[in-house]
């Protein structure tokens, strides 16, 4: 198994260990790293081919970024319009200030519908509010229906990616989980056979369970409609067969008009799975007599989003359309996989979203889980400048840390204060250079490199060499040159 007992991933930011610590189980597990790297290589190659196929890719990104920014600036207007139009079409709109309220609203709807079971379309927002364990405790069994989510639910594992959440699990591991939990000992590890097993396992649930829960890829203010994109048809089952349907959506998911889908639908599948279009996109508006659930609810979730909205540089985080292109492009995610991020939102977008949703009370290590290479910004279909937000958050974390009492004598902060002093006066700087050259002479080898330093300096030379200081500084050389009248 990829995760031995005791290494179970914790995706609650309040409880998860810091990133460097949480990354260790993956870094030490070659099978897991291989699974992650393989999946990412496949998606990246497909995405690259299909993005190259679009002559207007950059123009689509520009339009999408502008639409999403416009929505956020006018969020009150569009949410009220959505509420009005969805209600007029027969839907019920609820507002949840936080996760607890969203869970209570959903439970209340399910109780009124007398549902003891509920089928679910993959929704990261429901994972964000930890809905499944809550419903379980309230006596309602939630069945995930996306293949990857079934693998995770039956295998009692956590998602490690927002689009292909079981990418860390390979076929023989899936076989083991299905054989054990579905009682199919004869099952082979052929993906086709495994997929058929999932189809058979869920068919009766689709036909009999009275209620379903979905997320929303987009809410359309103009029509009061909801759009869900998917591949397998499990979403269409959930949207069509049950009597009661609940859509849980973050308040930022709204688009102004139906026509705006022409931009985001061209970007989403190409960015997410490297397909021209995902196999199924469903759009529905309130309740349609004779077709689909006649009892339809939308729960609009804040849960920290308005606090992100209030900060101008951070607000772009909410433009996200959850395509996961950033994590597929990220050199850090590629090494650590998703569990290290201690949140249902991993990768670069998780590194900025999670600490902000936690109101900077948790997940302070995440803004540092990046090399700031900018690959995430380059691929983002709505042009979120993730490195810019990472830097903002880093400075906030440092300010938080600096103001805590224990930090006054912390070697790092002492060192930084000394550095501040040295860099603030030219004469101190020159003196430090001179002393440094004398001091480091003992450690510099003949090749001009320092291979080992004592005490705190050793932390640097443990993993990389340090160039020795040159015999003359640029300043000294320039001054000497002037004296010689050149």
């Amino acid at each position: 198994m990829s995760q031995a007992k005791g290494e179970h991933a914790i995706l609650d930011p309040a409880l998860a260990p810091p990133f460097p610590q949480a990354a260790l189980p993956v870094l030490r597990n070659p099978q897991l790293r291989k699974n992650v790297a393989h999946a990412i290589d496949v998606i990246q190659a497909k995405r690259g081919r299909l993005v190259a196929e679009k002559a207007d890719w950059q123009e689509l990104r520009e339009a999408a970024a502008a639409i999403r920014a416009h929505v956020l600036e006018n969020l009150e207007f569009y949410l009220e319009q959505f509420e009005e139009r969805c209600t007029a079409a027969g839907g019920h709109v609820h507002w949840a200030a936080d996760a607890d309220e969203a869970r209570q609203i959903i439970l209340e709807i399910l109780r009124q519908a007398e549902a003891t079971e509920v089928i679910k379309i993959k929704t990261m927002t429901s994972a964000e509010i930890q809905l499944n364990p809550f419903l379980e405790a309230a006596g309602i069994k939630a069945y995930e229906t996306d293949l990857a989510e079934i693998i995770l639910q039956l295998g009692e594992q956590e998602p490690s990616h927002i689009v292909v959440p079981a990418l860390h699990i390979n076929r023989s591991q899936v076989r083991e989980i299905f054989a054990r939990r579905m009682g199919l000992s004869h099952l082979s590890d052929d993906p086709k056979e495994l997929t058929n097993a999932a189809r058979a396992y869920l068919r009766q649930k689709f036909l009999s369970v009275p209620a379903a829960i979905s997320g929303a890829n987009f809410l359309v203010a103009e029509t009061g409609g909801v759009a869900v994109v998917e591949s397998e048809g499990n979403g269409r089952m959930c949207l069509t067969l049950p009597r009661t349907m609940i859509t849980l959506a973050g308040i930022e998911k709204v688009l102004p008009r139906f026509q705006d889908l022409e931009v985001v639908l061209q970007l989403l599948a190409r960015s997410a799975t490297g397909e021209r279009m995902n196999p199924y996109t469903s759009l529905w508006t309130g309740v349609t007599p004779g077709d689909g659930p006649q009892n339809f609810h939308v729960v609009l979730l804040d849960n920290g989003r308005t606090s992100i909205l209030a900060r101008p540089k951070h607000r772009q985080t909410l433009k996200c359309i959850r395509c996961a292109a950033c994590m597929n492009a990220c050199p850090v995610y590629r090494q650590t996989g998703g569990h290290a991020y201690g949140s249902v939102y991993p990768g670069p977008i998780g590194a900025i979203l999670t600490p902000q949703l936690a109101q900077m009370h948790h997940a302070q290590s995440l803004p540092f889980a990046s090399s700031l290479c900018g690959a995430c910004y380059e691929v983002c279909p709505v042009k979120i400048n993730i490195p810019e937000v990472l830097l903002e958050l880093r400075s906030e974390v440092v300010n938080q840390e600096r103001s805590t009492a224990g930090r006054v004598f912390d070697p790092l902060y002492l060192g930084l204060r000394v550095a501040h002093l040295i860099f603030s006066r030219a004469w101190i700087f020159h003196l430090a250079q001179r002393l440094g050259r004398i001091g480091l002479r003992f450690f510099t080898r003949k090749d001009g490199w320092i291979h080992a330093l004592p005490s705190a300096g050793g932390k640097w030379t443990q993993t990389r060499d340090l160039r020795g200081l040159p015999p003359q500084t640029f300043h000294a050389w320039w001054a000497a040159r002037a004296r010689e009248g050149k």
Partner: protein, 230 residues
């Protein structure tokens, strides 16, 4: 629900405090940049060719037919499928329902009856060549959503005049109100209340990114393209 009315006020108040729109939303919306490609440059014929290529690329089977050949082509596809029991929406022409098969026309079929059918035959509203996408707006000839979901085999009849090259061209057709009479062949569709965009049969790549055709939706997607334009 009234007990949550205060949360509505609270969330909206937080949004109001966080945002300061400079102009009315409609005016700002009108100024949004739209530099992407609206209309494709292909001739109609090459557009249909592209659609066929892209449908096949995602495992749909496509055949072409002249309008007068359609009933015979449908019968041939049904025969080749090896299936016997089919459902159809109430609005499809009677000549599509080839003899020799058990047809259950959806005038209030139960879910169980639809589940027992081996295939379904429907019309479509539009198709987008660029992404190989079939569009259903669930009219009387396209059927309720469940009708094209439970049967394992879907035969979709598409007219060449319904094919557009780009996704924005489809949305342009939706921006115009639909034709008052379905027989007048106007391309205008109107904004749909329900819509399903289908790009190939249902699929997954959740196990080691290996694309597997057919999970919960129909595993077999067949398209007949009727050449109603020259």
């Amino acid at each position: 629900m009234s007990m949550h009315a205060s949360s509505r006020q609270q969330v909206l108040a937080r949004i109001r405090a966080a945002t300061h729109p400079a102009a009315a939303a409609a005016a700002a919306y009108a100024r949004l940049p739209r530099p992407y490609i609206r209309r494709g440059q292909r001739a109609a014929g090459s557009c249909v060719g592209l659609l066929i290529e892209r449908l096949r690329d995602y495992d749909a089977e496509v055949v072409e037919a002249a309008p007068e050949e359609l009933p015979a082509t449908i019968a041939a596809r049904l025969a080749a499928s090896g299936r016997r029991v089919f459902v159809a929406p109430p609005g499809v022409p009677a000549e599509w329902l080839a003899s020799g098969y058990e047809w259950r026309v959806d005038r209030g079929l139960s879910t169980e009856e639809i589940e027992k059918a081996e295939g379904v035959v429907t019309a479509a509203s539009c198709a987008i060549a660029d992404s190989g996408t079939l569009v259903l707006h669930h009219s009387a000839a396209e059927g309720r959503r469940v009708l094209t979901l439970l049967p394992d085999w879907h035969l979709c009849i598409l007219r060449a005049s319904q094919v557009v090259e780009t996704l924005p061209e489809y949305f342009d057709r939706c921006a115009q109100p639909p034709a008052p009479h379905p027989s007048d062949q106007s391309p205008s569709l109107g904004t749909p209340v329900l819509a399903t965009y289908i790009s190939g049969p249902s699929a997954t790549a959740d196990i080691e990114m290996t694309r597997i055709k057919g999970v919960h939706g129909p595993r077999y997607l067949q398209v007949i393209l009727v050449r109603d334009t020259n």
